[in-house]
Amino acid sequence: MISMTPRKHIPLSLTLLTPAVAIFLTLAVGVAIFGLLGFSPFDSLYTFFVAPISRPDQIGDLFVKACPLIITATGLVFCFRANVWNIGAEGQLIFGAIFSGWVALNFPDWPAMSLMPAMVLASIIGGICWAMIPALLKVRFNTNEILVSLMLTYVAALFIDWLVRGPWRDPMSFGFPLTKMYSDAGLIQRIDLPIVGTLGQLHWGVIGALLLAVAGGFVLSRTILGFQIKVMGDAPRAGQFAGFEPHLVTIGVMAIAGGAAGLAGMIEVSASMGQLQPNVSFGYGFTAIIVAFLARLNPIGVIFAGLIVALAELGGDYAQIALGMPKVVTGVFKGILLFMLLAGEIFNRYHITWRRPAVMPVSKGR
């Protein structure tokens, strides 16, 4: 019988080793599944993980793909650390795009100096507004934030679909569900590097994402707010005795996650699309959940985790073109990766041994 004893001290080597082992096992299982379904395992691996980064400009694209994931996951880290299960970041991202889109479409004449900050602010407000619905319902009525935030994602997706097909559609779009293009001032520019010039699609939003992750790491590890969040997640009763307000923490982390997701939506549209369309997000809000876990709920780790998952996402695009696989296959990798990471967490937390059956039970609630 398997026996699990909590570890008193988690060695650093284990902390770093776990994600690596999880990634390796994910690849092994993924290849096995592809093999079973009749795809050549090594072709699939190459297409997924090597082809997308075989040229320098593709490195830039990798960062671009990681950008919304890093931003959104940084916000989600705060939620998950506080044991608040916001899984509706996708909807919050969409509302960030909608709010900033409203600003961009209504004030096209503003110079970039004022339009860009206004759009950033609007996107953050949009994301927070959408996140406040599950947050306030949870605080006020104790409703389940998982289900509410998820249902709101479907609502948000339908809402933007209505906007771009209905009231916000560009009359000159020949019937396509697209809004007008943003003015140049509302677009995020590519980074013009010295000597090499632009590197793929690499844009200034990526720098923002990296800074945000670092700032998130600082808030979580060095401020009283971060401390409160961690205590409320790990030991809510201790937090209450310490005088922390659980409701305020819930609202706070939801606002952080919603605002971050909203910002990701704005950057994604302004940097890569230039106008609103029915699909402003390709599941980034859900993928960011995996990024947050791969990063072991650490904002600095989110940067690396974001790049790794972005590679799988790009690989999905390549596999679609080269192997004719549907785009959702990345979901197979993402799902297995999350399974492996969660299992790794247990091996970290507990010392697992094989022993004779138990006599006295001790249970451990989370």
């Binding site: 339908l158 696989m325 993402k334 989370r366």
Partner: protein, 303 residues
């Protein structure tokens, strides 16, 4: 009008299956958020099996099996390794959505023949209600049968009592010598089987084709239905019919040329779910009276 009511009944069948299965799993103390993924696996397997064998009954079987197998993946991690149930359930949904898309890719665009209706003799000739209630496919009857069976099992059998005990206090149940993990494995597998059946119903009866993510959040609505039913099986029927009605309202609205945009009507089931969750949660005593005390908590036996 009769056609409308029939559609409402058909729409609620997958919800009844999935919610009943999840209710059993939750009563044993396991929160499996992977219903959507299990339903998708059930749907794609049912469609594939029906296309291959040309027989929708093989589809039912394949759907149920696929659901149970997907649930076994959840059990492996959440029960075997005691991983966080919320995150593991999410992983299962992501995994199921991806794998179903991969498996189903060759079948996109195809169609299959649905299940035949089996009229119950004599009863079907009863005026007004006869055709509504007694002229359905086998899965519609089965969904009601399973619901009644589960209600009986949970409240009237010894095994049902053990299952509820495991869900309410896994430590006590363990101390009494019951195999907590085994009971939970059974409950989760049953939940997967039911979710698979619910998923199978979509391509077999509701829309005779396969498309990625065709469950469109039904798995999540089934999870909400369990909360709505406050963990009492009979109330699932009411909830499922209610949601079936709301889903159909959008079709009826379009048919009658309502001026409301179609997207707004499509939002109704999701908004209704939120409203229902709030209404239920407001009355804490009612909402939590039958809520399993150990729901979502990890069970780890030491020493």
């Amino acid at each position: 009008m009769e056609a409308l009511i029939l559609t409402v009944l058909l729409t609620s069948v997958p919800l009844i299956f999935a919610a009943t299965g999840e209710l059993v799993a939750e009563r044993s103390g396991v929160l499996n958020l992977g219903v959507e993924g299990m339903m998708l696996m059930g749907a794609v397997s049912a469609f594939a099996a029906t296309s291959i064998f040309g027989n929708p009954y093989m589809g039912i079987l394949a759907g149920a099996l696929a659901g149970a197998m997907t649930a076994a993946v959840f059990s492996l991690f959440a029960l075997g390794l005691a991983t966080n149930q919320v995150a593991t359930g999410l992983a299962l949904t992501i995994f199921g959505s991806g794998l179903s898309g991969l498996v189903g890719a060759p079948y996109v665009g195809g169609t299959v023949d649905g299940l035949p209706n089996l009229a119950i003799p004599i009863l079907v000739d009863v005026p007004i209600i006869g055709n509504l209630l007694f002229n359905h496919d086998i899965m519609a009857y089965l969904s009601i049968g399973v619901l009644m069976l589960v209600a009986w099992f949970l409240n009237r059998t010894r095994a049902g009592l053990v299952l509820r005990a495991v869900g309410n206090s896994h430590d006590s149940a363990h101390a009494l010598g019951y195999r907590v993990l085994l009971v939970r494995f059974g409950a989760v597998s049953f939940g997967g089987l039911m979710a698979g059946l619910g998923g199978a119903y979509l391509p077999l009866m509701l829309t005779p084709h396969w498309s990625e993510g065709m469950t469109a959040g039904r798995g999540w609505i089934a999870l909400a239905l369990v909360v709505f039913a406050s963990w009492i099986p009979s109330r699932i029927l009411i909830g499922a019919l209610l949601f079936g009605g709301i889903t159909i309202m959008q079709l009826a609205g379009q048919a009658r040329g309502w001026t409301v945009p179609s997207q707004m009507l499509s939002m109704l089931p999701y908004i209704a779910t939120i409203i229902v969750l709030v209404l239920i949660a407001r009355n804490r005593d009612f909402a939590l009276a039958n809520s399993p005390a150990c729901l979502g908590r990890l069970f780890i036996s030491n020493k």
